[in-house]
């Protein structure tokens, strides 16, 4: 495949120099926009991995004690694909994404271990000024609340153009042209006029489109979307998900989707990592995870979701999500787990074990969950 070999080498050269001049960037872009490799590529080939997180641990040292927000998290994001980090509030999914961008406030937070590899470069070891050009140029972010992440006193045009001038080192006129083109691409009608508007003059859905335009305008390879549709109404959510999907098919960027909503995952993710209490407890291809969840927590998440087809009482997971300040010993899910044996589960933390190709789960009884499913049973009543 043409893109693989060449891509890897070009990337290596650019990164090893540690500069992102215009010349290199263009080389970079050409590979990225020539998109065929993304669809046909096999996920297992390491050259198709855009970014890999290895053994990441982030802690917050607070007055009340150490908060183990993210512990030993590893996953990889293939090019042109969408990986979802799913979990409930406090499970560490947002801290993971902020750690990738090195946006953890220090103090009290610190990334204590791990690596975040973009190509051959470990972002965690990059000097701050080089990291700054990685943000926006290579990795950008879409936040949950578009109102608080846009500056209310500047027009949306100013905010995007500024980013383009800064990152792409182009003149204002060229930057304006690119901004208008990008806004048109994300479905904002009449972008030449809309760039003179302020964020409050737009609806929530339009603001989220502006956020997406801002994230994509510098042509990043990875977009981190943190609950991109949570604040939106369901019809607008559908529009935004469609937009992300079509932009991905068009531009070929990878998406790291942070969400609590399994419905959103089913819509756009190709690969899923389920997080609980700061760790990945299950990881699989999206279809495999929905067909064959192995961790009791994942099973519980599915069962507690009301659906249009199924009525009757929901199988709620008892108890509450543990505080990252007091994560239970052994398997962190054991106090809420219907399969907990009260001995091994309490004493020993289950490692992530592989059960099928690309499907791992961290549970001593994952095999039993699978067995129960073949008998048509569920760990929950």
């Amino acid at each position: 495949m043409f893109s693989r070999g060449r891509y890897g080498r070009e990337e290596l050269r650019v990164f090893s120099r540690g500069r992102y001049g215009r010349e290199e960037l263009r080389v970079f872009s050409r590979g990225r926009y020539g998109r065929d490799h993304c669809k046909e590529a096999r996920l297992t080939q390491s050259a198709d991995i855009l970014l890999s997180v290895e053994g990441l641990s982030t802690r917050f040292f607070t007055d009340e004690g150490t908060s183990y927000a993210v512990e030993d998290v590893s996953f990889a994001i293939p090019r042109g694909r969408t990986v979802a980090l799913v979990g409930e509030s406090g499970c560490g999914k947002t801290v993971t994404s902020l750690s990738i961008l090195r946006l953890i406030p220090d103090p009290p937070g610190r990334i204590v271990a791990g690596a975040v590899r973009l190509g051959p470069t470990d972002l965690l070891r990059l000097p701050e000024d080089e990291m700054r050009s990685v943000r926006g140029n290579h990795i950008s972010m879409i936040f949950q609340e578009p109102m608080t992440s846009l500056n209310p006193v500047f027009t949306i045009g100013d905010q995007i153009i500024e980013a383009v001038v800064l990152h792409k080192k182009v003149g204002r006129e060229e930057a304006t042209k690119q901004t208008v083109a990008m806004l048109r691409k994300v479905g904002i009608p009449d972008p030449e006029t809309r760039i003179r508007e302020y964020p409050h003059q737009m609806s929530g859905g339009m603001r989220q489109r502006v956020m997406i335009a801002m994230a994509l305008v510098c042509g990043p390879e990875l977009v981190i979307a943190d609950e991109p549709t949570t604040a939106l109404d369901v019809t607008i959510q559908a529009q935004i998900l469609d937009l992300l999907r079509s932009l991905q098919a068009d531009i070929g960027m990878s998406i790291l989707l942070i969400t609590h909503d399994l419905g959103v995952v089913a819509e756009i993710a190709s690969h899923v990592c389920v997080m609980y209490a700061g760790r990945i407890v299950e990881e699989a291809d999206v279809q495999e995870l929905f067909d064959n969840p192995l961790h009791p927590y994942t099973v519980g998440l599915f069962r507690s979701r009301p659906s249009l087809e199924h009525r009757g009482p929901l199988a709620a997971i008892p108890g509450t999500v543990p505080s990252p300040l007091a994560i239970p010993p052994g398997c962190p899910f054991h106090p809420r787990c219907p399969l907990s044996d009260g001995a091994k589960c309490v004493a020993e933390r289950p490692p992530l074990k592989s059960y099928a190709a690309g499907h791992t789960a961290a549970c001593w009884y994952a095999g039993r969950v699978a067995e129960m499913r073949t008998r048509g049973e569920s760990p929950y009543k």
Binding site: V234, T235, I236, S304, P306, L308, E309
Partner: protein, 333 residues
């Protein structure tokens, strides 16, 4: 308007809402002159039978929360009537209204903002009992302990403060407070939308359990169709201050008729990744309630709109062969 033969027997009816309107004046300029009205609720009618749940669903700004609060007289109504057990809530004098409120309670969306952070949990749950002079001293303590256990919290929690609890536990406290006076009717205003999925299921199960046990009647307001369909017997879909379709829950989901309902249903994320799903996307965005479109309020966004739609406002009428399924759309009448 529901056809006479399907109107439930009068003794069955707990609450009847008739042509309810809530308009908010919009003031501009130095003199604060009224320049228009936001018609948040604009002619809503429905009947709620004892022990049943009516789901009120719609997107933000459709007026569902305002409707719920107007029914409880927490917001003054502009027009219309709410008949609760045979009496019009809007005509009741203040002293009697207080008595009436014992039977009509509300559970709020935000479990963080709706509990006073300076009061203990026991104080919060016991306050309605004190205000209404229902219980004092030892008896009050016992009642509070009983309520806490009823909603699945330890009675020892009564001396703690709200900040010590998680979102789901706080919502349980809010439910205990609403139950304190043995109400007949509870407005549940987005009670689970601020909660995590696993906690949502717990609270939905709790609300359903309490309904069966205490014979409660719910008006369940939410934007999440899956949640509403799960808990409701009947579902009313609101758009720009009006009900556009109402039907028994199972039927509505099997056979949505109004174009807006179809759009809403098709926008729900699919349950499984490979599931085929046809999406009907409404054009544009929800128009302002300050200046609603003429005729059918949905016509500028409707994929099936025709000449009659911008001209004539459709009436909420029963569908042929389905007397308890009403829809306000020219396609069917």
């Amino acid at each position: 308007m529901i056809a006479p033969e399907t109107r439930p027997k009068l003794d069955d009816v707990l609450l009847q809402v008739q042509d309810l309107k809530t308009h908010f004046p919009v003031k501009r300029g130095l003199l604060g002159r009224t320049v228009g009205h936001v018609k948040a609720v604009d002619g809503v009618s429905f009947t709620l039978r004892r022990g049943r749940t009516l789901g009120l669903v719609g997107e933000s700004g459709c007026g569902k929360t305002t409707a719920g609060r107007t029914i409880l007289r927490l917001i003054p109504a502009t027009d219309g009537a709410v008949v609760f057990e045979g009496r019009n809530v809007f005509d009741v004098p203040p002293a009697a209204l207080r008595q009436m409120r014992r039977h009509m309670q509300i559970i709020f969306q935000d479990p963080y903002g709706s509990l006073n952070p300076r009061m203990t949990v026991g104080g919060i749950i016991g306050e309605p009992l004190r205000v209404h002079g229902v219980a004092r001293g030892r008896e009050l303590e016992d009642r509070v302990a009983g309520l806490l256990e009823h909603v699945g919290l330890a009675s020892a929690y009564r001396n703690r403060y709200p900040h010590e609890f998680s979102g789901g536990q706080r919502q349980r406290i809010g439910i205990a407070r609403a139950l304190a006076l043995d109400p007949k009717f509870i407005v549940c205003d987005e009670p689970v939308s601020a909660l995590d999925v696993s906690i949502q299921a717990q609270i939905l199960n709790l609300l359903e359990g309490l309904q069966g046990e205490l014979g409660l009647t719910y008006l369940f307001i939410a934007h999440d169709l899956a949640v509403v369909s799960h808990i409701s017997d009947d579902v009313a879909v609101m758009y720009l201050g009006r009900i556009v379709e109402q039907s028994p829950a199972a039927r509505l989901y099997a056979n949505p008729l109004h174009p807006y309902t179809k759009c809403l249903m098709s926008a729900i994320p699919r349950a499984r990744p490979a599931q085929a799903k046809q999406r009907i996307v409404p054009r544009g965005e929800v128009p302002s309630a300050l200046n609603p479109p003429s005729g059918c309020p949905f016509h500028p966004r409707c994929p099936w709109a025709f000449e009659r739609c911008p001209v004539e406002a459709p009436l909420l009428l029963p569908v042929k062969d389905e007397p308890d399924h009403v829809v306000s759309c020219h396609l069917y009448h």
